[in-house]
Symmetry: C2
Subunit: 227 residues, 2 copies
Amino acid sequence: MPKKSTSHPSPQDIKVAVDNCIFTVSDGELRILLIQMKKKPYTGMWALPGGLVQMRESLDTAAARILEEETGVRGVYLEQLYTFGDPKRDTLGRVVSVAYVALIPSSGIKLRTIDKYADVRWWPFRQLPKLAYDHNSIAAYAKRRLQWKLEYTNVAWSLLPPKFTLTELQEVYEVILGRKIDKRNFRKKILGLKLIHAIGEKTTSGAYRPAMLYRFWSKHPAIIKIL
Amino acid sequence: MPKKSTSHPSPQDIKVAVDNCIFTVSDGELRILLIQMKKKPYTGMWALPGGLVQMRESLDTAAARILEEETGVRGVYLEQLYTFGDPKRDTLGRVVSVAYVALIPSSGIKLRTIDKYADVRWWPFRQLPKLAYDHNSIAAYAKRRLQWKLEYTNVAWSLLPPKFTLTELQEVYEVILGRKIDKRNFRKKILGLKLIHAIGEKTTSGAYRPAMLYRFWSKHPAIIKIL
């Protein structure tokens, strides 16, 4: 139920920030990109790479700029996730945070940070420390949405090579969903979604017998179409 | 590509607003709830019901409060949709707008507005006028997302009586998607989603032969589970 508005509300004084939830899968783990804070009251704590929006930049531009400044990661397709606006989420004043999410390969990416922060690292999601601000909630929400998106979008493509086997695809799903999936069931369902197609080639190396190779129909964000 | 940050960015001065995209289906049309503005420079133009967030309320609370104040609509499950933050979206200064969306039955809802606005009305979406601010873009995005949600969630439940026929359900889908759907195909797909189930009763009145009645498994927001 909405609260009644007061007759003389205080003038609005809210800052707008962006926070990035950048996920990867490496060494069989779902990981998230975190920076280590220097400033009080969060000295030594880890946080999502984020910061205030500048007056003349869009929210998307702010998210990309801040991600690059604070972690060195650039050229990523950042998708807006959700806006967190609890009046007490920041102790130093009211800050509304527009959260962004991306799923990227970590190989070949060189992390670096700026002097303002102590460190930057891919953290195993299962072992997250207590984060600064309400970043544990934001990260948990981002992971849940990522898991949902596996069910009805082609989001997994970004972690896979252009041609991949169903086993490789299943591994990505299992790591992100955090559970084993029945192989036969997975193949039936995933092929039924029409997100991927066999390319008529097989793997030629490796210790296992040759496996069919697949491709995603689209590398642009796409949702499954039921109707 | 992110722009380089200037060395002396201007201090942040951004207002935070909410805007509500409230949809219904009536008389065979998808409609959206709009208010008519009095204040300049938008005098006489229609707009989404929205306004500034108060200092001590959450974004969700602000959306519900403002919707009730400006339209009389209350008790609606408002879902956060997307945050629009283009630096030039409002001519009077920078305003970031957190958009909310809901799909509700219009029958039994009495609309009323406050003195600040000239009128409130359900507008056929196909005949939207040019709206104030960037509200045409916001409304178009909200409609697209609503259409997507039909594909992978139970969002249609809110427009239907507790027990309904597949024909009634199909009509909701057709109006929101804006196209005819093949009946056999629709039935096969929709039953395959496991969102609804037959309750073992049939319609007993009406000009047509008795039809099976169905129910949604859940009236809480739910997405289909593929895996």
